[in-house]
Amino acid sequence: MQISRAWLDRISAAKKRANDEQLMRQIKRGDRQALGILYERYNQRLYRYLMRMMGGNTEQAADLVQDIFITVLDNAQQFHEDRLFAPWFFRIAHNRCKNEYRFMNYRNHATTNDYHLSLSEETILNHIEESDFRKALESALMHLSLEKRSMFLLRFEEHLTLKDIAKILNLPMGTVKSRLHYTLKQLRKQLQAFNPSNKEVNYDKNM
């Protein structure tokens, strides 16, 4: 009994060390524990992505987390193990958001609780808090198109490569680069007032 317990512990430790693609292979074979590990690994990342995609609607984000994992399971047999899991997973998530947007005019809803527009520039300059900046960023993200927002999040939140992002969004690499460049400029404009360096940032000591 003791031996079998130790043996099971060793198997589960090995599974926890397995990469995403190996876990997917086990899931395809019907391994429930592998699915539990993959869920623990990805649920928070996915939730954060969806929260920002959906403008901070917690219930909707949670519902989508569930839907997306179910889609992953229903399509698991189509996943090729020689590919990376994260881009495949976020492609499903991105497409799900796109569908969600078709059913609602989200842009209008998002601008009603626009955070940074309600603050005067003076207030901003005097109280640049990290949380304020975060809220301003989230609000600015909601002013981007769905595709640009997704692109930005996949790059800066999920740290995916440009190649992976191109695959997820089904766009050529050059287009991803130019749109990302444009998006950064657009965000800069909106967040300029929140730039902490406006308050004097002691950047380096090497000067």
Partner: protein, 175 residues
């Protein structure tokens, strides 16, 4: 060729999503050491990256509820017997005891195989039949001649039969 602040700002933008070539990277680094404006420009990106990287935790109970839902869905998906049970339920309109049914079908199959393997031996032991009627020929309407009827009347001693009653006897035996 000396670069302007604008071209360095462009490099700063690009460095957010792709690797700069070594030459550009070192030129930018040197410029940032001396230009406050470009440092300010870059600081906003640092701030954005930091803000985006903050974790957003899903409520603990919601997270667990979703986990159980997903695991349940997966268990259903991986139970082929459940699929079969569901199909049987759809077919018969009532729950069918699956394992008992499988046992019953298997027993019938075994008995059938056993019987069909024994049959040729019995046939072999039987005396050869003189004639076999082909099923198709049995179904064909047979026309009896007067001679046939007389012969049959002769065979059925003591019973007086008309041609009509003979027909019905033949019809019944044929069935």
């Amino acid at each position: 060729m000396t670069k302007t602040c604008n071209s360095f700002k462009d490099l700063i933008d690009r460095s957010q999503y792709e690797h700069l070539i070594a030459e550009d990277a070192s030129a930018l680094k040197e410029h940032l050491n001396v230009c406050r404006e470009c440092r300010k420009y870059q600081a906003l990106y640092t701030q954005i990256t930091k803000a985006v990287d903050t974790p957003m935790a899903m409520d603990h109970t919601v997270r667990n509820r979703i986990k159980h839902f997903i695991l349940d869905h997966y268990r259903q998906q991986n139970k082929p017997t459940d699929n079969l049970r569901h199909k049987l339920l759809m077919l018969f309109g009532r729950p069918i005891p699956l394992y008992q049914s499988i046992l019953l079908v298997l027993s019938i199959l075994i008995i059938f195989i056993y019987v069909s393997r024994k049959k040729p031996n019995n046939d072999h032991a039987m005396p050869q039949r003189a004639e076999y009627y082909h099923t198709q020929s049995l179904n064909l309407p047979r026309v009896l001649t007067n001679g046939d009827i007389k012969l049959m009347q002769h065979q059925m001693n003591g019973i007086n039969m008309t041609a009509d009653t003979m027909f019905s006897v033949i019809a019944i035996t044929d069935m």
